[in-house]
């Protein structure tokens, strides 16, 4: 029972980590690559929000803070802090190969490494954050695109990162 409760908390932390960093780094503002553009307009056509669609397209097309969060948790599970730092380094390489400047992914991976290490002192294991991140990304990408993009669009408006395209 405790484990399920911890996974729920880990999910919320992982969700906030990647959504806040990705939004702050401007993912909802412009589609970085052609694929993100297509995803954004396709979601808008199905009743979603354009900025949220760009967000989804961008995290789909290059490893941003979502991938950084997941890979850092896996890295810390395997190798400790070294694993988290290697994850940030590999995410940066992946970013540059995917036509992305790499700020969001790298910062997301490093911040998640710090979070996983700190939370390990109060009983959270890196595995819980891996499960939490998979659940978190499912809520964004896997359940209902129009409602998840509307939420992402509202967060983008709150953080002054809403797209100027239409």
């Amino acid at each position: 029972m405790n484990e399920i409760f911890a996974i729920a908390i880990a999910t919320v932390i992982a969700w906030l980590n990647f959504v806040i960093i990705d939004t702050f780094m401007g993912l909802p503002e412009v589609p970085g690559v052609k694929g993100a553009d297509i995803v954004g307009y396709s979601i808008k056509k199905r009743g979603g929000d354009l900025a949220g669609g760009f967000f989804q397209g961008n995290i789909l097309c290059s490893p941003d803070a979502s991938a950084g969060t997941l890979l850092a948790s896996i890295g810390v599970m395997l190798l400790g802090i070294e694993g988290g730092i290697i994850a940030a380094f590999l995410v940066f390489i992946g970013n540059r190969l995917c036509a992305d400047a790499g700020y969001a992914g790298t910062i997301g991976a490093l911040s998640m490494t710090v979070i996983v290490v700190l939370f390990s002192y109060i009983g959270f294991t890196p595995e819980m954050f891996i499960v939490g991140m998979v659940i978190a990304i499912t809520t964004i990408q896997g359940i209902h695109h129009p409602s998840s993009t509307t939420l992402l669009g509202n967060i983008a408006k709150l953080m002054n990162r809403y797209t100027k395209l239409d």
Partner: protein
């Protein structure tokens, strides 16, 4: 399971970060990317030079390769290597920044 912090490793990461930033500034790289920073592709002393330095150092530490002085010399070398790499080799290895996109969607 507590993820243990190794003070020697942490000190070495800080040395690698400091060395890479100082050498990058010495090589006349900009300290910060130009504004708006989140869309900037300029390689600067703050990003991505230290990331490459600590990434390479973490790979060495993860296979228990510390070399002399508990890894301190390795940290300085990685800082130097990453600054030189970002300054001179980066765009031979990674693709150039994409052109500014002005496509209008249909």
């Amino acid at each position: 399971m507590i993820v243990h912090l190794n003070e020697t490793y942490l000190l070495n990461y800080l040395i690698a970060i400091a060395t890479s930033i100082i050498i990058a500034i010495g090589l006349k790289m900009p300290i910060l990317p130009e504004k708006p920073r989140r869309f900037s592709w300029t390689n600067s002393a703050i990003f991505p030079t230290p990331i490459i330095a600590i990434g390479l150092l973490a790979i060495c530490f993860s296979i228990n390769f510390l070399w002399i002085y508990n890894g301190m010399v390795l940290a300085i070398i990685m800082g130097l290597v990453s600054a030189l790499f970002v300054k001179y080799l980066f765009y031979h290895v990674f693709p150039n920044p994409p052109e500014v996109k002005e496509e209008v969607n249909e």
